[in-house]
Amino acid sequence: MRWDYEELRLVTEAAPFAILLVDASGRIASINPPCAQIFGYDRAEVIGEPVEMLVPPASRGAHRPLREGYLAAPTARAMGGGRDVFGLRKDAREVPLEVGLRPLATSSGDFVLAALLDVSPRRRAEELRRLGAEFGQHALAVPHIGGLKQEAADLIARVLNVPFVAICSLAPDEKSLVIEAGFGWPRARLGNLAVDLTDNSQAAYSVRTGQPKFVEHIDVDYPFHYSDAMRDHQVVCSATAPIRGRDSTVGLIMVDDVEQRAFSADDAVFLTGVATIIGMVIDRDRSEDRIAQLTAELQQRYDELESFSYSVAHDLRAPLRSVAGFAAALREDYGESLDETANRYLGLIIGAAGQMGSLIDALLSLARVSRQEISPSSVDLSAMARAVVEELRSVEPERGATIGIQPNLLVEGDTHLLRIVLYNLLGNALKFTRGRDEARIGFGGSSNGEETVFWVEDNGVGFSTSYPQELFTPFRRLHGSAFEGLGIGLATVARIVRRHGGRVWAESEPGTGAKFYCAIGRSKS
C-alpha cells in the first residue's frame, strides 16, 4: 500500500506527539510541532537539512551508515535496539529519547517515519527516586543527625538546581523557625535567622497545616507575606516542606529560587521525601536521647538503692546489736534479782533482735542477688543438686529421706546463683517433709532445645493458695511458726530465675506434697 505523502504529512501535523519524516537521502522532510519543540528549533530551520543535525556530534559518524543500512532492509523497530539514544537540541543540550522507526512508501517516494519521545522527565523522576532513596539509606546509617541537615541542604540545592535552601527547626515557643543548615544564604544567617511564624507567611502556612506548598511566583500565586530577607535576595519562587516528627511538625525545609519555576510532581515528592527522612531521624534521635536519659535515671536510682542497702546493713544492725547485747548483759548480770517474767521478757527481746538481724541479712542477700552480674556457663544441675543435698544432710545427719536425682540435666546459667536456687528448693523440700515417715524428694527436668525446665518435688505438707505466684513474694509465708524461715527463699529463687530470663511456678495438693518448677531459656549472651 502506498501512502499519499501529503495526507501522511497532515496526519503527522495533527499528532500530539513528536514525529519526524526523513527522506531516502537522509534529509528532514517534515517535522511536526511537538518534535520541533523537543529540539528547540523553528520548523523552517530544519526542513531539507540532513537528519544528522539532530544527532549529537559523538554519534553523528555512526548514524549515517546505520541510516543507510536501515533503508536497505527497513523494518518497524525501535532505534538503538532499545538502548538510550540522545538528540541534539539547537541550544547544544542533549536530550534523552526513545525513537520508533517505520519505513513508509509514499506517492512521493520512500520515507522513514520516526516517532520520538522525550524521556528526560522519566529519567529525572528515576534520578530523583534514586537520590532520595540513597539519602534515606545514608540517614538510617548515620548514628546521629549531626551533619545530615547540611548534607540535605546541599543535596536539595544540587538536585533541584536552586540557589537557596534553608533547613529550619521549630523554636520551642513554636513562633519562629531557626535555620540550622542551609545553602546560598549568607553564612552569618545560619543558626541566627529566625523565620517569624506569627505572620501570614508561606512558612507559617506549611508549619501550621503540616502540608507542603509550592509557589511558582510569590507575587502572583498566593497572598502570602514574604520576609524582607527573601525580597532582598530577589526570591520570586518558594517551596516549603514541613519536617514532621511523630506527633507534630518539628521543622521546615524552605527552597527558594530567583526565577519563576514550576516544581514538577517528582521535585515535590523528592523534597517532601527528604523532609520525611529528616523528621524520622530527628524522632529516632529523640527516642535514643530519651532512652539514654531513662537509663541514666535508672542507674541513679539503682545507685541510691545500693547506698541505701549499704547503710541498712551498717546502720540498722548497730543499734540492734546494742538492744540484743545489753538485754543479754542485763539477764546475765541481774537475772537473779529479776523475777521469771522479767527474765522471759529479756529473752523475747534478745530473740526478736536476733530475728530482725536475720531479716536484715536476708533482705540484703536478696538485694545482692538482684544486682550481681550473671556470668553464664554450662552448669550440670544434677551434679550440683547432689552436692547441695550432701551439704543439707550434713546439717541434719539424722534425717532419713529418699532423694532421687535425675542425672545429666544441663542448663546455661550462673553457677553461683543457680546453686542458691537449688539450695533453697531442696532445703525447702527437706524442711516441709520433716514430719513424714518416708520423706521422698525428687529432682528432675527436661530440655526442648529452647528451654530447660527443672523441678524439685516432695511429699511434704504442701500448700494451698489461690494465688500460687504469691509464694514467690518476699516475706510471704504460708506456714506460720510450725516451720522456721524468713519467707525469703522462694523470692530469691524467683529473682534468680527471672534474672536468667526464665519463669517459676509451683503445684501442690495440700497434705500430699509440692512441686516447684523453674524454666530457663538458652543463654542470650
Partner: protein, 149 residues
C-alpha cells in the same frame, strides 16, 4: 599469751562497752586503749596531737579497727597504720557491720590481717571477740619487737 595492750578504734559507745564486756567474759585481761574517731586513731599511730607523748616503741599487740568511723574512714586509718614504721606489722582486725564485697576487698588491699563481721546477737558477738582475742594474742606468732639487724 601476749600481754600487750589492745587498741580499739570504735566510735559507738555501746560497741565499746560490749567489746570490753566480751573480752572480760572471755577472760582476756589485756589493757584496752580506746580511740573514738579516725583522726584520733591516726594521731595515735603517729604519736601526734593528744598522743604526742606516746612512745613509738610502745605499740599495741592488736588493733581492732571499725571500718566506719567519723573524720577518717577505717580504711584510711588502716593505710596510715601500714605506712607507719612502728605499726606496719601490728595485727589489724577490721570490725565491720557489712559483708559488702567492696568493703572486704578494700580492707585486704589496705593490709588488714583479718575481717570480722560484728554479729547482732550478743552471744555470737562475744564468741567472735573471744576467738579474735585468743587467736591474735595467743595462737598467732606476733612480729618480734625488735627486728633482726
Amino acid at each position: 599469751m601476749n600481754d600487750g595492750y589492745i587498741l580499739l578504734v570504735e566510735d559507738r559507745e555501746d560497741d565499746i562497752e560490749l567489746t570490753r564486756r566480751a573480752f572480760a567474759k572471755a577472760g582476756i585481761a589485756n589493757e584496752i586503749v580506746v580511740v573514738r574517731d579516725g583522726l584520733e586513731a591516726v594521731e595515735f599511730v603517729q604519736c601526734a596531737g593528744r598522743f604526742a607523748g606516746r612512745s613509738p616503741t610502745d605499740v599495741p599487740a592488736l588493733i581492732l579497727l571499725d571500718i566506719k568511723l567519723p573524720q577518717l574512714s577505717g580504711i584510711q586509718v588502716l593505710e596510715n597504720i601500714r605506712r607507719q614504721e612502728s605499726t606496719k606489722r601490728v595485727p589489724v582486725v577490721m570490725m565491720t557491720s557489712s559483708n559488702e564485697a567492696r568493703d572486704l576487698l578494700s580492707c585486704y588491699d589496705g593490709g588488714a590481717n583479718s575481717c570480722v563481721r560484728k554479729p547482732v546477737v550478743f552471744a555470737d558477738f562475744a564468741e567472735a571477740v573471744r576467738q579474735v582475742g585468743e587467736y591474735w594474742l595467743s595462737l598467732n606468732q606476733a612480729p618480734p619487737r625488735t627486728p633482726p639487724p
